[in-house]
Subunit: 309 residues, 5 copies
């Protein structure tokens, strides 16, 4: 596998990582139809944990089978596939070497009553990621929650271990809990802050939600107004998040959130692209559609990132 | 020991496991009268921990002796025998190699006042399972309880350790605590969710309770109605649970619950069989009966799974 | 040391233990005047921790000196001597090899205000037991207390470690805390349950308090009445506890509790003997008496177990 | 690198440290324009964690890029650069060997609602510091907070590990939480106490805030008055803090706190110098200014410590 | 170094310790003007942690310098010097081999609001003690506090580690918290109990406060009266504490508490001596006085223990 100059430039930003980790980042960045462009689209399937099997897969029952998602990601030419332990165990042998995988290493669920103090269970290990042939581990933090320090300390230890064995680290940074308002969870100041903390924690790839133009913290609001930080458009907001990821030295991708219609999803992707973001991580919007529809959507999405749309 | 094509197909689903673990799954699947059919009946005797000795064994005092249960399981031609540490220690030497055993590695008891926040004590280890010649470890999680994340993290670590040394992992997934209603503990949405989480946690064999047609979570109810998921009959509900276990890629067995009459137990088994479930795990309904009665019941049960009834 | 057929039969019940642990059980069972009979009397001196030095030793000040208790146990021809770390450290060199010792590895004290949630501090280790030449470790659990799961997990780990190095494990199973009534702590259903849980946890020797005919748990009471379990006499109750210890496959001894007069103590011992119990563990009733008196009492007690009284 | 007699005298105070740690202290003390004088100015950039990216870097957007801060510290001739994991990872390769670095190993953030019980997450390790070529680890304690014992135990373990591999230890000692008043956080008795505790914990370099003449604790106030401890001027207060750092045997530096005007900052530095303090650690006052302004300010600051102003 | 018969007799009481630990006990017992007598006077300087630098050292500012205390202890001919990590690190190289040292391995401070549930932070390790050339570790427990079990478990682990590498263990046993009244903290029943628990925990040297004739616990009071335990004089009370330390088989020393006048201190020492106690551990009463005064006081104190006063 030779890499493109664009990918080389991205890898150079990871100047403290060992060749093993760089190789795994390269595998993700060179995979699929976006391979070599510095853009990426990742398929995450951890909704079974978060919402249960029926809410996740009944709309498209093929998704009950872990093999389906590997197939979808490969056929659509995506960059990587992310899922919890059991989902990978049930298909990693069949699809070994066909697409980079990310072991999602912690998960919550809808039965937890700890809504006030959200947290997650660690459900996988670095050793699991290695034996399953993964390129990266994925971990969620909830900045703002009472459990945030404990979660940060968990990923600190897991990330140190992962980097030492040449794996990459993906952090889902989802502000939640504590004093945060519901609107605050996707406020631009909070989203940029969450992305920045993931970068400070040593993430190679950062995943956040699309930010709104709301400002949550008074102290931050003051600065955004004084410094005239432009957050008026989606594109400008993505630019600001990219800037908050070490001025673009770290890969940042955005989740799709709840199901939306296709035009809205594509508009979002165009703004991500124009704002300098690295791509999308999209689950329910794809695997809950019939396969043909999902492939069509992903084709359009990839075309956006290829600059064809 | 040669294995049947049916068992080979099941083992192939465990595509990330090492030959040691596959061999132990094969030992269970090839054991007894159901050996080779892909169906199994397991005898669990952990009620002494849960309810105390008199409530467990006074009805059939032979059961006070750990040797009795080994003998019963072997004589009835069952697939495996599961029990806590002390029960196995007291008989594993005598019956070594005669039936696969599962070390039940955590337990609760009736003296705990933590009804609001149910949990269990870890009372055995992977090293114990190895020295006692077990084929698997068994672990209970209480999805929904405040302790659920801690329990999931315990089994995560124990399962990783078990798989590395070639043991299989059985998860008892019993929703309980938190915001769950009493009816919700066996609601079909919750039962399928609980089975799915056990699969995501990497269980080889999943044990849940027979589901009712109740729906607990509003968000799930909406999907069951919209998607017209048929949960009207026992058979359909078992089908749905099997589907939630990676579309049948994971073995799922159902507990018998409190003592019932024989026709009810056999009807349940027929529904499990017809729904594609792998079998039953039945304790009190067998060892609390006089031995002859228990053997007769187990003979009928096995005949159901053999398709003779 | 050759062992008697009776002791051989007892050792055979420990069919999962290594020769090291069996040898240490044999040392205890072959020691002193009851050596070879399958009966045993143990001297425990952990009251200094539980009640302080004056309440423990002022009645017979010789007891302030750790050498005294070794001497008493040896002179009386007892089976073993149990004490916390410091007590053994201060005399184990002088009396090395003269009597089997049990390192009592956790302790509470009278200053703790955690009456509602009783627990203990772990104050010794398996390594301590080995360097002090002990034959066993001793550990207290409080079934029913909020700390019970933590305590069970402590002894689980310590017992695994002890068995691996050939030590025996003695569990003091004292129901306490949680929803238990004061009378419930010694109720026959609770006492049998506590003994059973110690057996399930893998204890070689189980220590419980003499049970009363009170029944604490409604669910259990129902079974005792329905199944007509005879708990009307001390002897019958001891029989029931022995039965709850894997139908006699585990050694069970009974504590003397608070000071009593000699006839009461001897009557209790006769009932233990007749009920199939293995013996007594008696502290305050011996070391708080002048030595001559204590030796006389122990002589009578041993005679009971020898069947001479 | 040869060292000056002044630096030699300082190193001699670290009489229990190994040559590795002394070498790293020497690297810091011999670096930049203050090299060899025993004075030092450190650039810390952990505000992204504490206040988020916009509040930290929008005033001078060059600061979003981790390379900027290395460049600023080197160009200004500073003694060392301190930052959290991600900030160092993103630039340590490029600037390897050009300036000593301090891995700031724990951090808090503005989203935490634990204002009443402030704490921090550990976000880096000694192994991280080594692989990134750092000379020291930096750690914040909050004396007075409910988390203080836990934080002290964290740095105890990390400091032991760091010293064993030849790293130096910098402790940020910031009294906070518990019964402390807001004014008490910078009271002279508390500041001196905080510095002393950092010294007792084994810090090589101690960082505290500039103290006011307020006295917080009644018991301390009594002693300050009785013993006529002069705390009337900044210089006298710095002298008292230096005295509290083992009578000057430990290096102590002072933070700049919130942005101030240049004359105030220089006056503070003169008082630190005249009071025998070792220097300044100044973040926001430098990197939030345009680079030319920041360099001019740092030039003046260094001139103060060189005795030229 | 040859040892006296008196010291030999004391060492013989430590019959379970390895030669390394005995050698360190011998170093303390053979050091200084009381060397060989079986008596000892120890200088502890941990007040900086407990009360802050000004309250500890302003009365005699020479004490801000860690070298001062080593010098004082050596010049006065004391038996050992005890201090926290930083204090030893700053002077242990200069004074290596001149006086046995005790690393005080946990500490509290005056900023903690946990008055209701007192605890301490562990601030040093056995490895620290070894690299600093110490003869012992020192650890405080608070019997009665809610943290008491945790503290006992900490010293259990640290003591096991210390003994294995030939260090001695000194336990400061200070009843505090929980249900204890203020008067109860120094009540004779509580003091004797605290000393006894330290002995049971395996301490080589026990440090308690001088007991009053108050009795705290009703159950104990009853025994003291019934058994006519004489606690009417200081001497009798010290005798009772010595008896509670395994009838004199463990070294017990008494702290001086808050500053007192010289006659009171000497009277206390005479009572300790006459009651069979092993000596004094005296901090503030010495290092807060001008050096000449401190030396004069220590000379008188030593003369008391030499039987000259």
């Amino acid at each position: 596998m030779s890499i493109t100059p664009t990918v080389k430039r991205i890898l150079d930003n990871y100047e403290s990582d060992n060749p093993g980790t760089k190789a795994n980042l390269a595998r993700i960045l060179m995979q699929g139809r976006l391979g070599g462009t510095g853009k990426l689209v990742i398929l995450p399937v951890d909704q079974g944990f978060e919402h249960g099997p029926a809410r996740s897969f009944a709309a498209n029952p093929a998704g009950y089978d872990p093999h389906y998602h590997y197939g979808l990601a490969i056929e659509a030419g995506l960059s990587a596939y992310a899922a919890p332990l059991g989902m990978l165990e049930a298909a990693a042998g069949t699809f070994a070497g066909q697409i980079p995988t990310i072991l999602k290493i912690n998960s919550s669920n809808s039965l937890s009553r700890l809504k006030e103090d959200p947290s997650q269970a660690v459900t996988g290990s670095v050793a699991d990621a290695l034996r399953l042939g993964c390129s990266a581990i994925g971990f969620t933090i909830y900045p703002g929650s009472d459990a945030q320090f404990a979660m940060m300390e968990e990923i600190r230890a897991l990330a140190e271990e992962a980097k030492a064995v040449g794996l990459a680290v993906v952090i889902w940074s989802y502000p939640r809990g504590g004093t945060l308002s519901k609107a605050g969870e996707t406020a631009i100041d909070i989203c940029a802050y969450a992305a920045h903390m993931a970068a400070l924690l040593g993430a190679h790839i950062i995943k956040v939600k699309p930010p709104t133009d709301y400002l949550e913290l008074e102290a931050a609001k003051k600065v955004y107004l004084e410094q005239k930080i432009d957050i008026s458009t989606q594109t400008k907001r993505y630019e600001h998040v990219v800037q908050s990821c070490f001025n673009g030295r770290r890969i940042v991708v955005f989740s799709g959130g709840e199901s939306k219609d296709v035009p809205a999803l594509l508009a979002e992707a165009r703004a991500i692209r124009d704002g300098g973001g690295n791509g999308s991580i999209m689950g329910r919007n794809t695997f809950q559609r019939p396969k043909a529809e999902a492939l069509a959507l992903l084709d359009q999405l990839i075309n956006v990132y290829l600059g064809k749309d």
